[in-house]
Symmetry: C2
Subunit: 331 residues, 2 copies
């Protein structure tokens, strides 16, 4: 099943079911007004949504219309919470090797995870509005999962039953803030403006065997200004999503609609490229002694997509970086 | 004006106006269904809420009833986001002095702030359910503000106009996780389970001159198991809330309903006690070479309140620490 959220006056948007080929959609508001509401009573809503999805794919859904990703918000425009892991250790290892950042204790046994803002998630074609190119504007291509209510202390062995939807994410990052915020120990804050999402959230069965071991075994194809940047595969996650969920729920319950991210998809070896500029810059430092790829400029465009059986799964993230109005004009 | 949220089937609860003396309340759902909705259209809702508040205080509100804080949720049971500062530098200085934690760069010029979870805020008398006493269970008495929509890049000089409500917070903390999470640089996660809130959020005029310079100039009286623990005053914040808002909005807009916290209220000198156990332990280490106060045990009770003109402003936080069911039973 594929679900999306159309922008509407209300911030939570309008729930639609999207056809498998992403061409058609139909409002599902008779089942639940928005995706968050559906996740909060998933057991009741899921069969009705699945029936509507079957009708839509069969060309029999009443009121169906062409799906326009340009009208889509993030699946959860405001999510209850956003817990972003850094589960591909290859990424952290490269950063440490290149920039001499201090090794992170226990990183091979305890997942790294930061709490991100979830009040203002961007849609797949929304401009990324930022104040300054000097902040080191970067993208991070990620996969993620959306869970229903997870009880406190949920063990990893039981965690995958809570995964209701899979998503594709651009975790926009401002690299100029990262080192200081890490050193201060309070974690990323100014370094992490709003994240962006591909339009379509899918149930795990939509990618068949590519969903296994709590990992999304798909290539994430990343293109910067029309040029290939990388296509790392989600299979190499050092911690599966079940482990990320258990980590997040170790000391508190998680509300339905909580999104957990994989961190930048990153593969060892030199064939796959990268899903963020910082990592390519790290590789350049390691290989050539200096980085030559610059961070993003206003006007730059980032595209990301993942395919299964040669079909886009989540749609496409396709965003432009845009300068914010100067502060004096928005006060 | 004083507002609170009664628990209801819907997680956002029901908006009520509470009388100045906290004795009476009246539903405000004809104005806005819940506090988040009111904050999202504050300009429209505020006059109607103020009129209802005047009626309630005059004993003329139709449908008024006795206000029972035991039925109250947090003012925003799920807030769009929770940005918690550490704006009393005395607290950080004591921790560094006692435990030799590395000095935080620029801490006197750049506010410390972490992103907390905001999906599951606890009400004033809710049990704090936690998995283990070994995690170093602690409270942190804080003041906070709730803002309306804040534009990206809002300067500190314009930030106070966005403060709509003041709140009182217990930022529950698990000290066993803090040092590792700070060292890893990704910030607090398992160290910060759900925060708790006093029942009543108040407009700044409710504390008269005690709201000035972006600070809440009130004592926060903290009592552990019926014994005085501290009564530090909010005046000594090294950064005012206007500076915390500007810091949070430097690289992204903040949605209406965003809560910003002061961090543990902490005063220099030895007369005022502390608003968290970790700080008292730090003082014990500094003064006596070892800490003697232990962290909380299951069954312990924490109370916090703040008074203006001898009247409770926000009501009272009055919570018990309770052991969670073992994980195997909740999977």
């Amino acid at each position: 099943m594929k679900l999306a959220t159309l922008k509407a006056e209300h911030k939570d948007g309008i729930l639609v079911v999207v056809s498998r080929d992403l061409r058609r959609a139909v409002k599902a508001t008779s089942i639940a007004p928005n995706l968050l509401a559906a996740l909060e009573c998933w057991t009741q809503c899921e069969p009705a949504l699945a029936a509507l999805y079957a009708d839509l794919n069969a060309g029999e859904a009443v009121g169906a219309f062409d799906f326009d990703p340009g009208l889509a918000a993030a699946p959860l425009p405001r999510a209850p919470q956003w817990c972003d892991g850094s589960a591909f250790l290859n990424h952290g290892n490269l950063m440490q090797q290149a920039f001499g950042t201090p090794p992170i204790p226990d990183m091979e046994t305890i997942p790294l995870m930061y709490q991100g803002a979830s009040d203002d998630m961007l849609g797949p074609t929304d401009d990324v509005v930022l104040p300054s190119e000097a902040h080191g504007i970067d993208f991070e291509g990620e996969f993620g999962v959306i869970v229903d209510d997870v009880p406190l202390g949920c063990p990893a062995e039981l965690a995958l039953r809570h995964v209701k939807l899979l998503v594709q994410i651009n975790d926009v990052s401002l690299r100029a803030f990262g080192p200081r915020e890490m050193k201060a120990g309070f974690g990323f804050f100014q370094a992490k403006p709003s994240s962006s999402f591909a339009a379509v959230a899918v149930t795990p069965d939509e990618i068949g065997e590519a969903w296994r071991e709590g990992r999304i075994h798909l290539d994430l194809a990343v293109e910067l200004n029309g040029e290939w940047f990388g296509n790392p595969n989600g299979a190499e996650m050092n911690f599966g999503f079940h482990q990320l969920i258990a980590h997040a729920a170790a000391t508190r319950r998680l509300s339905a609609g909580t999104i957990l991210g994989s961190g930048t998809v990153s593969n060892a070896g030199d064939q796959r490229g990268s899903a963020c500029i910082a990592e390519r810059r790290a590789i350049e430092v390691i290989e050539k002694g200096a980085s030559s790829t610059s961070f993003m400029k206003f006007g730059d465009r980032i595209r990301m997509e993942a395919r299964w059986q040669d079909r886009r799964v989540f749609g496409e993230i396709n965003q432009r970086i845009v300068q914010a109005f100067p502060p004096a004009m928005v006060g």
